[in-house]
Every structure is written in C-alpha cells, then in structure tokens.
C-alpha cells in the first residue's frame, strides 16, 4: 500500500477519524470486501455485521496492544490470528444468544470475520506499536468506517431491492422491488456505483479548488 501523504494524526480524535473517512476500509482501502457485499442485503444485517466486526476489532487490537511487548516477533502473525479467532468465536456465541434470526441471516460470515483483512492489518500495522487506549480508539474509528460502508450498501440495496428500510416497508404493497439489488450482482453494482460517486465528487473538488490538493491516491 502506498504511504498516505496525510499530516500526522496529532490527536487521538484525528487518529480515530482517519478510519472513518480518509482511510475508510470499504471505499478507500478496499478491504473486507467479502462481508461488505454478502451481508448487505438489508440495513439491519449490515449494521449488525458492522457492529460485530467493530467489537472484534476493538477487542483484538486491545489485547494485541496489551501484549505487544512480550509477543515474539517470529510468531506475531500467528498470535494475532489466534487472538482474533478467539474474539470471533466469542462474538459468534454472543450473537446466537441475542438473536437466532440474526445469526441465521449473517450465516458463515460471522466466523469469516476472522479473515477480514481489516482486523489483521490493523493489528499488525497499528495495535502492535501503540498503547492500548490509542489502539482501541483507532479500532473504533476503523470499525465505524467499516459500518458506515456497510450501511451505505445495505440501505441502498434494501430500499431498491425490497422497498423497505430496517424492515419498515417504504413504498407500500404495489412497489415492484428491483430484485437484482438483493442478489449477488446487485452487491457488485451498488458498490461500484458508490465508488463512482466518490470518484466524481473528488474530481469536482479538485476542479473547484485553485491549487491541487495532495489527494490520498489516484483511482
């Protein structure tokens, strides 16, 4: 990944917000694509997956950060994976205890959180070098960014593909849903469209400002 020429985050707030916008996992870093496309057939599923991932992210970064001085560097990746898998297993049971319906809806993708590149990437790049509180706050930011990305897809797909939002029917019974939106192709199309929108918006910003801004990276 190319180094971002962004100013060094001067405060933990900035550090946290990095993950929400500038380094948004879904739209900028293109990480964690599998759950992004798979579970966003409805806004509720998207939100739940986002929250679950954020919880795993925060817990894992916290534990990794607390152990960062004693984990031998030769086996650090393996250790991080085991830690992440631990928290994913815990969340798996947690979701089952809260709502079986949600558990069935999210399916295998709950356990697949363990291979979500965001978490391992954050643990390796950030949490292993930062004190626990800062690491966890950054994780909250990343998790929030991921959840926002998921929600962006989930809401569009649910509104267009089922005529509802969070289960509440919006357009009444006569609405012919655009079914493809809740099918696999729809996931690709909606994410692609969001990227188009962001690229267009960035292009407009560049065109409107007199001096070129050091943007994160070219498309």
């Amino acid at each position: 990944m190319s180094a971002l020429p962004a100013p060094n985050p001067v405060s933990t707030w900035d550090d946290m917000m990095e993950g929400v916008w500038r380094q948004n996992p879904t739209f900028v870093m293109m990480l964690g694509m599998c759950p992004t496309l798979a579970v966003t057939v409805s806004a509720v599923n998207a939100l739940s997956m986002g929250v679950a991932t954020m919880l795993v992210l925060v817990a894992s970064c916290g534990l990794v950060s607390m152990l960062r001085h004693i984990v031998p560097k030769e086996v650090r990746i393996a250790t991080y994976i085991v830690i992440i898998a631990t928290f994913v297993t815990a969340i798996d049971y947690g979701i089952q205890a809260v709502s079986l319906k949600l558990y069935d809806a999210l399916g295998a993708f709950i356990q697949l959180i363990v291979v979500n590149c965001i978490i391992l990437g954050r643990a390796e790049a950030h949490a292993s070098k930062t004190p626990p509180v800062a690491a966890m706050l950054n994780a909250v930011g990343m998790g929030a960014g991921f959840t926002i990305g998921l929600l962006a897809l989930g809401t569009v797909r649910e509104v267009l593909g089922a005529g509802a939002l969070f289960g509440v029917s919006l357009f009444g019974a006569n609405f012919q849903p655009w079914v493809v939106m809740v099918l696999p192709p729809g996931g690709f199309f909606v994410l692609g469209s969001w990227l188009l929108v962001f690229a267009w918006w960035k292009k407009r910003k560049r065109a409107m400002s007199p001096t070129p801004i050091a943007t994160s990276r070219s498309a």
């Binding site: 057939v41 534990l63 152990l67 004693i70 984990v71 031998p72 560097k73 030769e74 086996v75 250790t79 085991v82 830690i83 898998a85 631990t86 928290f87 297993t89 815990a90 049971y93 947690g94 089952q96 205890a97 809260v98 709502s99 079986l100 069935d104 399916g107 593909g161 089922a162 849903p177 079914v179 809740v182 099918l183």
Partner: protein, 233 residues
C-alpha cells in the same frame, strides 16, 4: 528522525530465546482459552433457550393447538426413545410429538431439508397419524431469492398443498406408498403431489424433496410404534 532516549536501547537482532517464546505463547493460549470458554459457557443457556423457543413456535405453527411437545429419537433399530439434551446417536431421527391439553397425541412434527436455489431449505412439517397425511409446513431456514423463492412462505395456493398431503405407507411399511413429488404448476392430480409455484420451481422442488426424504426415513420407523407415544408421559 530523533534518536530515542538512551533508555530505549535498540533491541539486538537475535532470535528470541525458545523458553521466552514458549512461555509467551503459553500465556496467549491461556488467555484466549479463558475468553472462549467463558463466552461459550456464558451464552450456553441463552442459546439453548432461544433454540427451544424457536422450535416450539415452529411446531405450534404447523400443529395449531399443541399444548405440550416432547422430542423423541427414532433409532435405526426401530426403537423410539425420548430425546435427551445431548447428541443424538448416529442414524437416529429426531421428531417432536405434540399433545393437546388432555395429553393425547395431536400430531408429529419433524424436520426435512433439501438444497434449494441458493442454499439449503429447512422445513418443519406436521404429520397427523389419523389421516396419515401432512397437515402443514413451516420454513425454518432458507436463503431463497426474495420475491421468487420466498413465495413458499406466503403463497396460499402452494401452502394449500400441505393441508392434506398423502403420506401413507406402503403395505410392507418400508416406505411411502407414493413418493411425494413436486409437479409443474397446475398439473397436480394426486394427493401426494405438490403443485409447484409458477416461476419458483427450484425452491418448490426443494420443499417437496425435503418432505419426501424426511418422511421416507422417519415414517416407517414411527408409524408401527405410534401407540407407544399416544399419551403424554
């Protein structure tokens, strides 16, 4: 770059001693093990309750008026035993007997599953011994296409298939007299056929196959032993 203060000496690039590695890994394993076990134990009762409630709700849907349900296992050798909380022995088929308020048998509920369009379709069907037929179905889990496959949940004509689906056993009591088969929409002629939903053939076929496979396996074991479970214990 500023030089770090002298107290933070650069770590020599040597291998971490094996002893330290083993100790650390052991510590990590212990912490993780603790977390997992606590999560598992902590959620166990809640998960069990959730499953039980979901099952009871599903059974009441296919056998309305059921007051009490007891789960049984039909073992490969033909015996019927009450299902305990643990794992079922290999080859045992689980079913649920529903009793009315007076404690007499109302019907049997059992699960069947078959591959649909996207993933497995799991259904619960209610079987009534007096008519030897299926009286209702409920979908436990499915991931079929919204608007197409999920019509099996709502399409009244499709659900009417299962108000009296003939599942009588053959003379030898070894299987169904007539295989439950899903036929093209509008071509149903026999009581053991399932009229598919027009445009949702694959999902309709999955429901038919699920019922057929489950009944073919369970009913020959269950029907000869019905007297054993006529009254609620």
């Amino acid at each position: 770059m500023n030089m770090p203060p002298s107290s933070a000496l650069p770590v020599p690039a040597t291998q971490t001693p094996t002893r330290a590695m083993v100790l650390t890994l052991g510590l990590v394993a212990a912490i993780c093990g603790l977390i997992i076990v606590s999560a598992y134990e902590g959620s166990l009762s809640a998960v069990r309750d959730n499953r039980r409630v979901a099952l009871e709700r599903a059974i009441t849907k296919v056998l309305p008026g059921a007051n009490k349900t007891i789960s049984y296992l039909a073992l490969p050798d033909g015996a019927i035993v009450a299902a305990s909380g643990g794992d079922a022995p290999v080859g045992a088929l689980r079913f649920h007997a529903a009793y009315d308020a007076k404690g007499s048998l109302m019907g049997i509920a059992a699960e069947g599953s078959a591959k649909g369009y996207a993933d497995t379709v799991r259904i619960l069907f209610g079987y009534s011994p007096p008519c030897a037929c299926i009286v209702g179905i409920g979908v436990i889990n499915m991931r079929e296409t919204p608007g197409i496959g999920d019509k099996i949940l709502t399409d009244t004509a499709f659900l009417a298939n299962f108000k009296a689906l003939d599942t009588r056993l053959n003379a030898e009591l070894s299987g169904l007299a007539n295989e439950v088969k899903t036929v093209k929409h509008g071509t149903k002629t026999q009581a053991w056929q399932v009229d598919a939903i027009s445009g949702a053939t694959i999902t309709s076929r999955a429901v038919g196959r699920a019922i057929n496979e489950a009944s073919q396996a369970l009913l020959p074991r269950l029907v000869p032993k019905l007297e054993q479970i006529q009254k609620a214990p």
